[in-house]
């Protein structure tokens, strides 16, 4: 009981330190980070690749979720649409959608939830007109966390679907 109160206190202290205090569950998802440049891109430094241009929406690759949710929030739909258009205009390009979850709760339920997160992005891409053959999905559940902490900041980064191009 004491421990629970202490951790509640810690949580509130942590919350107070954050620059934008928000309710833990509803905390804004971290900004999508550009994926590191692929080795192939480095060897062809001269060629412009919109996928790696930090000013291009295509450099954004991650969709973030609330706890135990797989609904794609509206804020990510333009990004998914841009990737859909890219895939439609580059018939040879292929993506893998990688679903992830935070560490809390059940690892097996998270594996299923991660699959549904990836599948929800796939569905949006397919309904935008992308050929099913260009999209594969996989779930890593809570097994490949990007952030390693045991706190909401880390958890928010780990509840996501990554759009990964085949050449990457």
């Amino acid at each position: 009981m004491k421990k629970m109160m202490l951790s509640a206190l810690l949580m509130s202290l942590l919350g107070a330190c954050a620059s934008h205090p928000t309710k833990p569950e509803e905390k804004a998802a971290p900004a999508a980070k550009a994926a590191p440049a692929a080795p192939a891109a480095q060897t062809q430094a001269a060629a412009y690749n919109p996928l790696n241009d930090p000013n291009n929406i295509l450099s954004h690759r991650s969709v973030y979720y609330d706890f135990d949710k797989s609904i794609v929030k509206d804020q990510y739909k333009p990004m998914i649409k841009a990737h859909s258009q890219y895939l439609m205009s580059h018939a040879s390009a292929k993506v893998q959608l990688q679903g992830n979850c935070d560490e809390r709760g059940s690892r097996e339920y998270n594996l299923a939830l991660g699959q549904r997160r990836a599948d929800s992005v796939k569905q949006l891409m397919e309904s935008a007109g992308v050929s099913a053959g260009q999209i594969s999905t996989i779930s890593y559940g809570s097994e490949k966390p990007r952030a390693l902490g045991h706190n909401e900041e880390a958890w928010a980064q780990n509840r996501r679907t990554d759009i990964v191009y085949q050449s990457e």
Binding site: K3, M11, G105, S106, Y109, L111, A112, S139, Y140, G141
Partner: protein
């Protein structure tokens, strides 16, 4: 170190001292009405059989260990019962280790009732050196059964995943954490180990092919085969009680559904077709029903259904996150993980009354699994920022922590009783 440990007995007890990667067990709470027992160091006990017995009994939380002091009887005629009554012992354990033919040893022990001045149990084992620990655990099991009326689990094994950076090992160790062996060692995640009912094989999920695949590995030979590698994620293996089938979950196209395959792989059967997620099947002891996690009602809850198919019945109603159910060995209750405010805790629910009780108080508890006597629950937790295992008794009173010197341990599975 030994002196320090005995000074704070019950609070901190180091049980095993192998030279590498030891699993350390720490007692953090004991049961009420502990039975006072004294284990007299055995005669010519260089291998330390009696100290393993003493550690087993102390760790399980059911006993209060009485220091034998200067008294060291090894045979019945050397026992002065009034002396032991004065020390407060209800029972004493005596014995010795004696050379036998063929380089073997005879381990003799007697369990004596102090009040009645009578023997409760007495056995002799002829064993090789490598069997001393195993023999000590068998003796502990007999003592436990005689004094508590329940089956002891000191001779059983546990499996768990050890994560060090991006390296994952499936390890099997004795129930006291001793003798840990790596069964699988890969640089991709491994989850969900499940013991076959005979304790000879372990099914588990590995990502080494890039996605979740169910494997079955023979512990004696080390050989393994793929049990389920269909399109999508293959995970959450559970053995049918007869060992013939493995229930597992196939996730694809937005659904996660429970299927059966033969233990050897093949003969794929879908046993439910609900939309959404159904996962974490656990067989009833009679093999006729499964309990599982499903979000068909909007949030993940525990359901029950016949293995042969048919409607599912919801079992949990409190809160919006009840997952990871496992049947108790007697089939009368199930353990599961409940979201409790901002915490995730282990809870137990009785089938007959529908009443549930939260047993743990960690922040991020996970993956509860019953000991085969149904008295203890092993689960994963985070303690001081690291993944550890913990044990709680089904009445919530006895608590232990198991941790590694380095790395995170998680995904425990308690092996069956071995005969």
């Amino acid at each position: 170190m030994n002196k320090l440990a005995s000074c704070i007995a019950f609070l901190f007890l180091i049980l095993c001292r192998p030279s590498f990667g030891a699993l350390t067990i720490e007692i953090v709470g004991g049961g009420e009405n502990q039975i006072p027992v004294s284990v007299v160091p055995f005669e010519s006990d260089a291998p330390g059989v009696s100290s393993v017995i003493s550690a087993d009994l102390a760790r399980c939380g059911m006993f209060r260990m009485i220091d034998p002091g200067a008294s060291n009887p090894h045979t019945i005629d050397q026992v002065n019962y009034p002396d032991w009554k004065a020390k407060g012992a209800d029972a004493i354990v005596i014995g010795g280790i004696y050379p036998a033919s063929g380089g073997q040893y005879e381990v003799r022990f007697r369990l004596l009732d102090v009040a009645k001045g009578a023997q409760l149990a007495g056995f002799s084992y002829t064993v090789s050196k490598s069997q001393f620990r195993q023999t000590a655990h068998r003796i502990s099991d007999i003592i436990y059964q005689q004094l508590t009326g329940d089956v002891g689990v000191f001779s059983t094994k546990i499996a768990y995943i050890l994560k060090k950076g991006q390296h994952f090992e499936l390890q099997v160790a004795d129930a006291d954490g001793y003798g840990a062996q790596s069964i699988v060692s890969v640089n991709e995640p491994v989850i969900s180990p499940a013991w076959s009912p005979d304790g000879k094989k372990i099914a588990y999920v590995s990502f080494e092919q890039g996605k979740a695949t169910v494997y079955v590995q023979d512990l004696m030979t080390g050989k393994r085969h793929v049990a389920a590698n269909y399109r999508g994620s293959n995970s959450a293996p559970a053995w049918s009680p007869d060992g013939r089938d493995i229930a597992f979950v196939l996730s694809r196209d937005g659904h996660s559904r429970i299927h059966l395959v033969n233990e050897a792989g093949g003969n794929l059967r879908e046993i439910e077709k609900s939309p959404g997620i159904s996962t974490e099947p656990s067989f009833s002891p009679d093999g006729k029903e499964i309990i599982f996690t499903s979000d068909r009602g909007g949030s993940p809850q525990v359901y029950k259904m016949p293995v042969s198919g048919g409607p599912a019945q919801r079992l949990t109603f409190e809160g919006n996150y009840n997952v990871s159910p496992h049947y108790s060995p007697d089939g009368k209750s199930f353990v599961y993980l409940e979201r409790n405010g901002g915490h995730f805790n282990v809870a137990i629910q009785d089938f007959a009354t529908g009443q549930s009780q939260i047993l743990t108080d960690g922040d991020l508890d996970q993956s509860p699994t019953f000991a085969p006597n149904g008295k203890l629950i092993l689960y994963a937790s985070i303690y001081s920022g690291r993944g550890i295992l913990a044990i709680v008794s089904t009445d919530g009173r006895i608590k232990q922590r198991l941790s590694m010197q380095s790395g995170d341990i998680r995904e425990p599975a308690w092996g069956p009783l071995v005969h």
